[in-house]
Amino acid sequence: MEFSDTNAEALKRRGYVLKNDESNTVLGSAEIAKHAFDAGCSAGGAKMNFCSSRFKDAIQLRLRLLRTAQQFARPFDEITEDGTIIFGRVKVPDAFLNEVIAFLQENELPEEAYSVDSEKNTIETASGIVEELAVIFDEDGIDFENVQLWIIEQYPFVGGFVVGSERIF
């Protein structure tokens, strides 16, 4: 059994408690399962599987995300072991979008290494490229009227939940 927002009150009323702070697992749940498993084994022939609450997060969900990330990831996205993707984002003031694209082309960044969203005035590319840009912009004093450079980590689908973001320029 596992705790959730909706069943926590009912579980507590019946005296159930969390196994520890890091999981949703109900204390004693695994022990009851072990007891049943052993009883089934000694009775002989029972086919059994104990699927822990942690399995869902650590394996089912994580591997599903990884699989989704492998389908979704663009050539420049980095896939983490949690199944999230990390990439760099350039936020450009409206009038400078084409200038920044020209700048990338001058620096021989191949077309597949970045993706342009002309509605949002953003360019997404590898996090390493954005880090390099930060150094170049800094050294050469280029800023395309307050261009912003970000590193983003998010779930691997369109509009996926952003796990973390950091502005580096």
């Binding site: 596992e2 927002d5 579980l11 399995f55």
Partner: protein, 159 residues
């Protein structure tokens, strides 16, 4: 039978094809309704889903068949687990989705279903004919001590 265990504390001496597929991260979870005739105190469903007539494929809200297929493609699903709520309260919907998934992704797309009901043998035949590969019975705790005489025993045998 040999014991298998993993880093999540799970263990088994036998895993069904449905479990094996899930362990690869290749099972889509198709939640066909939040409505259920039972009221189990331990039900962990969120308010967004509990007792609501809503459909989700993994975390994606479903408004059309295309949503289901798109979610399955996005994760390159090798199979689907149908759950709820009580899926069999929406029997026709379940049959529809089994047929949809099998006709789109082929026979090898493995489909399993959870239920806390004791389906009749006619219903089981229909589910099987539509392509259901695996069914998991969750009989309510009140009848655990008289399980062999219950409708669940009959369903299990028929399955």
């Amino acid at each position: 039978m040999s014991m298998q265990s993993d880093e999540s504390g799970s263990y088994s001496n036998f895993l069904t094809d449905g479990c094996l597929c899930c362990r690869e991260g290749a099972k889509m979870v198709l939640f066909v309704t939040g409505v259920c005739h039972r009221d189990c105190f331990f039900c962990p469903l969120s308010d967004e889903r509990k007792d609501k007539d809503v459909i989700f494929a993994n975390e994606r809200a479903v408004f059309s068949d295309a949503d289901v297929l798109e979610e399955a493609r996005s994760m390159d699903a090798k199979g689907t687990g149908i759950t709820g709520g009580e899926p069999l309260l929406e029997f026709e919907k379940v049959i529809h989705y089994i047929r949809l998934l099998k006709s789109t992704f082929g026979k090898s797309h493995h489909i399993h279903l959870y239920t806390s009901t004791a389906p009749s043998s006619d219903d089981l035949k229909e589910l099987s004919a539509a392509g259901l590969d695996e069914i998991r019975f969750h009989p309510p705790i009140e009848i655990w001590d008289k399980l062999p005489d219950s409708a669940y025993a009959k369903s299990l045998k028929a399955a």
